[in-house]
């Protein structure tokens, strides 16, 4: 077990070798799983009865399952499911158990280890644990790497991990994490395994079990520490209806084929000893692309439920949609998605009854009023907010304003429901993001020329880079591809090359696309303003996030910003990451241990320019076209 490294660690830290060995042994105990079939069997039994009570069914694509079965028999396999719920941890194992496939070893976050009973149950169903950060603990990293690679190379069981690292609270795809990916690729490059077959799996929930929890977290109502007690309280879930779950197993991706197609040779590695780990720049780039590709494919495995269509429509017209209008809206959305190759789950029966059952299932966040108006459940609270005085305050005024706690509470409550709805609407994001970005850079400016649209698109790319999993490269190519698609669909027309005009027949498409991305852009814009208000000073990340959130609440209250989603901490943090990535701001690691990182504006002019660019897109605009 990584013996040379153990010796190295002992030498570097001038500790006794046997102490280090003992520590390594303990770490191994901490990490390792203790797969035991009886445990899995009883878990499966419990799970089956629980799922029966709260679900209509769990569906899986048979051809995908067959391919998975075959791959597991022949190759070292890595299963890469999407991650939206804790249920993901056991669903794949459960599925494989039911179909007699070798059960996977699952990488689980260490936070589970604090849950008495649960952690041992997870261990016995094949979970092994990893720390959220490895920090500078060389020994831990070595032991963990050795553990994962031994699992992979011995080929006894497939490995399962969540490439997004954590559950996606917003149901949007998250940027891939590369730690485990590197550990998986290394043995292939070093010839320890002939290939690694990666299988993306999309797990779609008609209703996410943690929907309320997620919304609360997004608003910073702190996440309760994982404890068995909390899980037991979750028993109230049992009375609820969570619809169905669809597990869609994607096509296996062969690492070997991928490397061949990218011209990545293993030969450079043969000139080094076996335990000498090294990775070349182009291999890192390959892994980067691979991560993006897997996230992309995982999301393309996902199935969109009618609830996502309903939520999209409701958020589009958040003051309420008459039931009669909702039916054609939902149907139109379904067609639009299907045209783009998205699988929409559509049970038999007419749209209206589907909407009714969806409304029933999602009564936490959406209501049908007595006047047949479908609207966010907290819609009535909006009227309680002091009505904007007709005069839209400027940013300077807003920054100077105070918000009393009851108002903040009210706004938070509204946005709580909005974020829950957004969780469902976001499920169609992956298919529409480039078009939505292009739409926003065009809609309020048509007719316009390509150069100005591209400039705005650039700004969006910069602002949303972390919010969505966007390609890292210069977005020109992405813009052009997307424009081709929009022109093909006739969403915009081009009389002369490089000039776009509105197609009034399709204005609603543009309006809808734009509406998908607008809340996020507004959020970034608010963050930008908050950063500018720091006037060159330094602020801790948490203070920045809080400040931006309060500013967002004020903007929403005064009608400067329409979307209640701008209060999302996730959105604010992503904005900070995006701005850091593009070099507009800097995040220093604090010298004081345990202290937050510090945020500082690095490129004031750049930030001002971006803010202006976003401002035109956020604040302009006529009222929304009917879908």
């Amino acid at each position: 077990m990584g013996a040379p490294l153990v010796i190295q660690v002992a030498e570097e830290s001038s500790r006794e070798l046997k102490d280090v060995q003992k520590e390594a042994q303990e770490l191994l105990e901490e990490i390792g799983h203790k797969m035991a079939l009886p445990a899995v069997r009883s878990l499966a039994l419990v799970l089956r009865s629980v799922l029966r009570r709260i679900l209509k069914g769990v569906f899986v694509n048979k051809p995908g399952l067959e391919k998975l079965k075959e791959a597991v028999r022949q190759w070292p396999v890595v299963l890469l499911p999407s991650h939206r719920s804790y249920l993901d941890f056991i669903l794949v194992t459960y599925l494989m158990f039911e179909h007699n496939i070798t059960l996977p070893s699952i990488a689980a976050g260490q936070d589970f280890m604090n849950m008495a009973g649960v952690s041992s149950l997870l261990r016995r169903s094949g979970a092994f644990f990893l720390r959220r950060t490895f920090g500078s603990d060389k020994l831990y990293k070595a032991v963990f790497t050795a553990y994962v690679q031994t699992l992979l190379c011995s080929g006894d069981s497939p490995i399962e991990f969540f490439i997004e690292g954590t559950r996606s609270r917003t149901a949007k795809s998250l940027h891939p994490k590369y730690g485990l990916m590197n550990m998986i690729v290394e043995p292939y490059l070093d010839g320890r395994v002939p290939d690694v077959v990666m299988i993306p799996i999309g797990i779609s929930y008609e209703r996410t079990l943690e929907e309320e929890l997620f919304a609360r977290e997004l608003l910073g109502v702190s996440k309760p520490k994982e404890s068995t007690g909390a899980l037991l309280r979750a028993r109230t879930l049992l009375g609820e209806n969570y619809g169905s779950i669809i597990i869609n197993i994607g096509s296996p991706v062969s690492l070997h084929d991928l490397c061949q197609s990218k011209g990545i040779s293993r030969i450079p590695h043969v000139l080094y000893p076996r335990d000498y780990t090294m990775m070349l720049t182009r291999e890192r780039e390959m892994i980067f692309d691979l991560g993006h590709m897997i996230v992309h494919q995982t999301y393309h495995c996902m199935v969109v439920y009618p609830s996502a269509l309903l939520a999209s429509a409701v958020l589009y017209q958040s003051r309420g949609v008459p039931l009669g209008e909702l039916v054609p809206m939902v149907e139109w959305l379904r067609r639009e998605l299907e045209e783009r190759g998205v699988a929409v789950y559509w049970e038999g029966g007419d749209t209206l009854s589907l909407i009714h059952s969806s409304l029933q299932m999602h009564s936490v966040c959406v209501e049908l009023t007595s006047s047949d108006l479908v609207r966010p459940r907290t819609c009535h609270l909006m009227s309680k907010l002091a009505t904007p005085s007709g005069h839209t305050p400027s940013m300077v005024e807003l920054l100077g304003m105070t918000l009393d706690s009851s108002e903040l509470h009210l706004i938070t409550e509204i946005s709580y429901v909005h974020l829950m709805l957004a969780h469902y609407r976001n499920q169609l994001m992956f298919a529409l993001i480039p078009e939505a970005m292009a739409a926003l850079s065009l809609y309020h400016f048509l007719p316009c020329d390509k150069a100005s649209a591209l400039k705005r698109f650039d700004a969006l790319h910069c602002a949303l880079y972390k919010e969505f999993v966007l390609p890292k490269r210069v977005p020109t190519e992405m813009f052009q591809d997307t424009m081709h698609r929009l022109l093909d669909r006739g969403v915009v027309v081009s009389q002369r090359p490089g000039d776009y005009t509105l197609n009034s027949q399709k204005e609603h498409v543009l309006a809808f696309l734009e509406s998908l991305v607008a809340p996020f852009v507004a959020g970034v814009w608010v963050v930008c303003h908050h950063l500018l208000s720091m006037k060159g000073g330094v602020q801790s990340v948490s203070a920045t996030v809080h400040g931006a959130k309060v500013l967002a609440a004020k903007c929403v209250k005064e009608g400067v910003v329409k979307s209640y989603e701008t209060l999302s901490l996730d959105l604010i943090r992503n904005a900070l990451q995006s701005l850091t990535e593009s070099g507009l701001i800097m995040q220093h690691t604090s010298e004081v241990e345990g202290r937050d990182r510090l945020v500082k504006v690095d490129d004031l002019k750049g930030l001002q320019a971006l803010t202006r660019e976003l401002e035109v897109m956020v604040t302009s605009g006529p009222s929304r076209a009917k879908l």
Binding site: G191, R192, V193, P194, D195, S265, R266, I267, V270, P273, R274
Partner: protein, 630 residues
């Protein structure tokens, strides 16, 4: 006398032979009497009466479209029994009932799917030779023999790669050499090469023709006349120096003749490539060959003391016999592995050793291939490897068990007992185990000491002695296994062997990954039945090992079998390189492995080779087109 001077003149010796033959009442050397190879290894102790294994026109004795002797071959009879015909080898004319069912099970052999060879093409089916009258006129006065007979031309235009044999068997004959010349000594070679330079004739040196790299294939686009220079008339041991234990030998001598002649004098060269019966000393040098017993005698580069090579610019040689030198890069390394593209090797001084007193076989059984490799690695570490030590994977082990006659009741009973012993008492899975074969040579004491040490090491890796007989069979099978390919080719299989050398740390993974890759490639190429892909570790070194692979698959239903085969073999090679294996351990580059040379030795390395080629042979007289990428 300390130094035995043998007659220089090959012609004189042949006359003596003929005379001797007359005295024994035999008019000429008949094919059936040509070989003494009957014992387990071709290095027979029975004194040979003949001086040469083959007549000048080898196709009289050897197959034109397959491996080895015409009269020796595997065949399956109407009852589905496999039989090895001919009496040259110990398994001659014995029925082997287990072969067919086993092959059917493992690789999908079906007796109805035959693919027998086309008959020998008639002269008019062969392309007519490009005339080179001036050249012939110039060399005829001194050259021992010259032929443009179709049979000679055909025999000299191919080696033993799978695609060459497949082409012959399916009647797809490509470019043939235009003429075959037989020089008798070094000066004749010099004159022929000069004549070739003068008349711009391409020369392809030809030794045993056993290469598996496409080395003697004519480049298809060669417009000049191509002369195959058959070296086998140059088969004399010119002198033996008993004080220094060296011998100076003409390069065309066939391996078995060399050993027989040396052993008559109490010596051995000890170089035993698997092709020993048919390949030549010059061929060994030109391909950097490796011998089974290299642990005692060394590989060919360790054995040679002096080499003479005729190039278009004249003869290159070292003018001293000292055991080592420091005169810049060793000039021998331009000749070793030159694959006939820089010149032709005419004479070689080799080290010789007294024939060992004792030779003993041995075998070991290991629970897994991995534990066998670990054992070999330990043996290499302790530098106590016997003359030969090999590790067969499970598939090869089973194949060895199958190529056996019907066992007697008693033998099958004891076999059964052995199996039960291994499975029940030693916990060895017969589907997982690997077998190691051993060959010890030396004085009785040396062998005893070596054996003890080896078996002690083996025990610590869970190795169980498997008896002398299994060891003997293992080595003996080496010489008949090449015949099995011809049988496979008769039943719609394509088959090939290839080799590599690799650091110890990568041996197991390389074997595993190559097997996996080949299986995947076969599947991707639409090959319905699983391929045979087996390996063995055949040599151990301080820093690594040599691995030998066998690949075969049934091509029924594949539209372009040889195209598929080439792609699968290339994928296997690519996998070998990706796993730290060398491009070749001893087969050489030829034409087959040329695409990988540049990445193996760097572009600068290639330009160095090219510069030498350009300087020594600007006209590309030695135009076989091997080794050096264009």
């Amino acid at each position: 006398p300390i130094c035995t001077i043998l007659p220089m003149d090959g012609l004189g010796t042949r006359r003596l032979e003929v005379l001797k033959g007359h005295l024994h009442g035999q008019g000429d050397v008949k094919p059936s009497e040509c070989s003494a190879v009957k014992s387990s290894a071709p290095m027979s102790s029975t004194k040979a009466e003949v001086q040469r294994a083959f007549p000048r026109h080898r196709q009289e004795v050897l197959k034109w479209n397959g491996w080895g002797y015409k009269d020796s071959r595997f065949a399956i009879d109407d009852k589905g029994l496999t039989c090895f015909h001919g009496h040259r080898y110990a398994i001659g004319d014995v029925q082997m009932p287990k072969v067919v069912p086993w092959m059917a099970e493992e690789v999908g052999l079906e007796l109805s799917q035959t693919s027998f060879s086309q008959p020998h093409p008639s002269p008019k089916e062969l392309p007519s030779p490009i005339p080179c009258r001036d050249f012939v006129d110039e060399i005829r006065p001194f050259c021992a023999d010259i032929s443009d007979e179709p049979g000679d031309r055909l025999f000299h235009s191919h080696g033993h790669t799978c695609h060459e044999l497949f082409a012959l068997r399916t009647g797809k004959i490509g470019r043939l050499v235009d003429i075959v010349v037989w020089p008798a000594n070094h000066s004749q070679v010099e004159s022929i090469v000069q004549a070739a330079v003068k008349h711009n004739v391409c020369i392809i040196p030809f030794g045993g023709g056993t290469n598996v790299s496409g080395a003697v294939e004519c480049p298809a686009n060669e417009k000049r006349p191509v002369a195959s220079m058959d070296m086998t008339d140059m088969d004399q041991i010119l002198w033996i120096d008993e004080e220094n234990l060296t011998a100076h030998i003409q390069a065309g001598i066939i391996g078995q003749d060399l050993e027989r002649k040396l052993q008559d004098k109490g010596y051995t060269c000890g170089h035993e490539p698997d092709s020993l019966e048919f390949s030549t000393l010059g061929g060994w040098v030109a391909t950097r060959s490796s011998g089974m017993k290299k642990n005692i005698y060394g590989n060919i580069e360790d054995i040679v003391v002096r080499v003479r090579m005729v190039t278009p610019q004249g003869t290159v040689e070292r003018n001293f016999l000292g055991p080592r030198n420091s005169i810049g890069p060793d000039i021998h390394h331009f000749m070793l592995g030159s694959e006939g593209v820089l010149g032709v090797i005419t004479e070689v001084t080799v080290r010789i050793r007294p024939v060992p007193q004792t030779r003993r076989y041995g075998s070991l059984v290991f629970a897994t291939f991995e534990s066998g490799v670990a054992f070999l690695r330990e043996v290499a570490k302790q530098r106590c490897a016997p003359a030969s030590i090999r590790l067969m994977d499970n598939f090869q082990f089973q194949m060895g068990q199958v190529i056996k006659p019907v066992p007697s009741l008693w033998a099958s009973f004891t076999d059964q007992l052995k199996k039960i012993y291994l499975a029940k008492f030693k916990g060895i899975d017969l589907k997982e185990m690997a077998a190691c074969t051993l060959l010890f040579e030396g004085t009785a004491e040396e062998v005893a000491v070596n054996e003890k040490r080896i078996y002690t090491i083996a025990a610590s890796f869970g190795g169980i002695p498997g008896g002398e007989e299994n060891g003997r069979r293992g080595y003996f099978l080496t010489f008949v296994i090449a015949y099995i390919r011809d049988l496979a080719l008769d039943y719609s299989f394509l088959a090939e062997s290839f080799e590599t050398s690799v650091p110890w740390s990568r041996v197991v993974d390389l074997c595993e990954n190559v097997k996996t890759r080949v299986k995947k490639e076969c599947k991707d190429h639409g090959i319905a039945t699983p391929p045979l892909i087996a390996c063995r570790v055949t040599q151990t070194y301080d820093a690594g090992a040599c691995i030998y692979f066998y690949l075969a698959f049934k091509y029924t239903g594949i539209s372009d079998p040889i195209g598929a085969f080439d792609e699968i073999e290339a994928a296997a090679r690519e996998e070998i390189l990706s796993n730290g294996g060398s491009l070749s351990h001893h087969h050489g580059v030829g034409k087959l492995r040329k695409p990988w040379v540049q990445s193996a030795i760097s572009p600068t390395g290639v330009s160095m080779l090219k510069a030498i080629k350009q300087q020594v042979d600007p006209q590309n007289i030695f135009g076989a087109g091997n080794l050096i990428p264009t």
